[in-house]
């Protein structure tokens, strides 16, 4: 889907989130210069096209007790990585699964899966189980738990211009 200037204005207006008022789409429309009905119509189309992956509550894991946040990285042969990524992402506790470039020699990993849990030991056991189930245990991998959060908020594509 090609984004129109109106779509872009709407997505910009949405960056800080939806206002908590009875008619939030009308407020977005005022910010983006369009009617409430057009906001609703465009958001539905943007969701259908996958530009908006989801519209709803964006939850911070730590605050609801999911304190063990494990970025699990693997070095998967290039001809296998997409199939492995598609399979891993179906596991309920894998929240995000991405392919990224290796940066040799220091960074040999090309597949990233986020696994969140309440407790570190259980997350590590779950990751071992996932690697086993998918026949990945023999591949080079690492688990990077987060130890401190310095910043977490929504993306702001226009931050520099604001």
């Amino acid at each position: 889907m090609e984004l129109s200037p109106a779509d872009r204005r709407l997505l910009d207006a949405l960056e800080g989130g939806l206002p908590l008022v009875p008619r939030p789409y009308a407020v977005l429309g005022e910010r983006a210069g369009m009617a409430e009905a057009e906001v609703i119509r465009r958001l539905a189309a943007l969701q259908a096209a996958g530009v908006v992956k989801r519209l709803g509550l964006v939850v911070r894991h730590h605050e609801i007790g999911y304190r063990a946040n494990a970025m699990t990285v693997m070095d998967v042969p290039d001809d296998m990585v997409d199939a492995v990524g598609e399979r891993l992402t179906r596991a309920a506790d894998v929240t995000l699964c991405y392919r990224r470039p290796r940066r040799l020699p220091g960074w040999p990993y090309n597949l990233f899966a986020m696994v969140h849990g309440r407790e570190r030991g259980a997350v590590l056991a779950r990751i071992d189980q996932l690697l086993d189930e998918h026949g990945l245990a023999g591949l080079p991998h690492a688990v990077l738990f987060s130890t401190r959060r310095f910043k977490q908020r929504g993306a702001r594509y226009r931050a520099a211009a604001a």
């Binding site: 908590l20 539905a44 894991h61 605050e63 970025m71 990224r100 990077l144 401190r148």
Partner: protein
């Protein structure tokens, strides 16, 4: 993560989190529609969402945009000497283009996401951080995302 307290949630908070991480109603009064589905008033829904935001449980009620559709972003990593971690994390946080920034257990111990309107601007931000810190910054842009982002399905303890 020792510096963030778990926030106690009641049954209504949990239902909001379970049911509305996606598919927020697309009708003129979405919070009233949510209240109707949950058996509470619009006022209660608005009050709850406001408090969940204030307490940091929600980063926002809003949209998660697919990567690289309205701009560019990358995941960046740095190997920061332990005694400089606070200083470098602060320097990274100071960039308005940085939206996530975490310390992780690895030789590469600082991981952050940079988002901007263009690929060039993201590259400038990374170069700026490298220049100001005197440290190398690894650029690991997303090549492919697998699956659909369904949000997060908690099991309450």
């Amino acid at each position: 993560m020792v510096d963030i307290q778990e926030v106690p949630l009641d049954a209504l908070d949990r239902r909001l989190i379970e049911e509305y991480q996606r598919d927020l109603p697309l009708c003129p009064e979405p919070y009233a529609a949510m209240g109707e589905a949950l058996g509470v008033s619009e006022e209660v829904v608005l009050d709850r969402l406001g408090r969940l935001q204030e307490r940091g449980v929600l980063s926002r009620v809003g949209a998660v945009i697919a990567p690289h559709r309205t701009g560019w972003s990358t995941l960046a990593a740095m190997a920061v000497p332990q005694e400089r971690l606070d200083e470098v994390a602060e320097l990274v946080n100071a960039c308005p283009e940085v939206n996530h920034n975490y310390a992780r257990e690895h030789r590469l111990n600082l991981w952050f996401v940079v988002t901007a309107a263009s690929r060039e601007r993201v590259a400038d931000v990374l170069a700026g951080i490298a220049g100001r810190s005197g440290l190398e910054v690894l650029d690991l842009p997303l090549e492919r995302a697998y699956g659909i982002d369904l949000g997060f399905k908690p099991s309450w303890s």
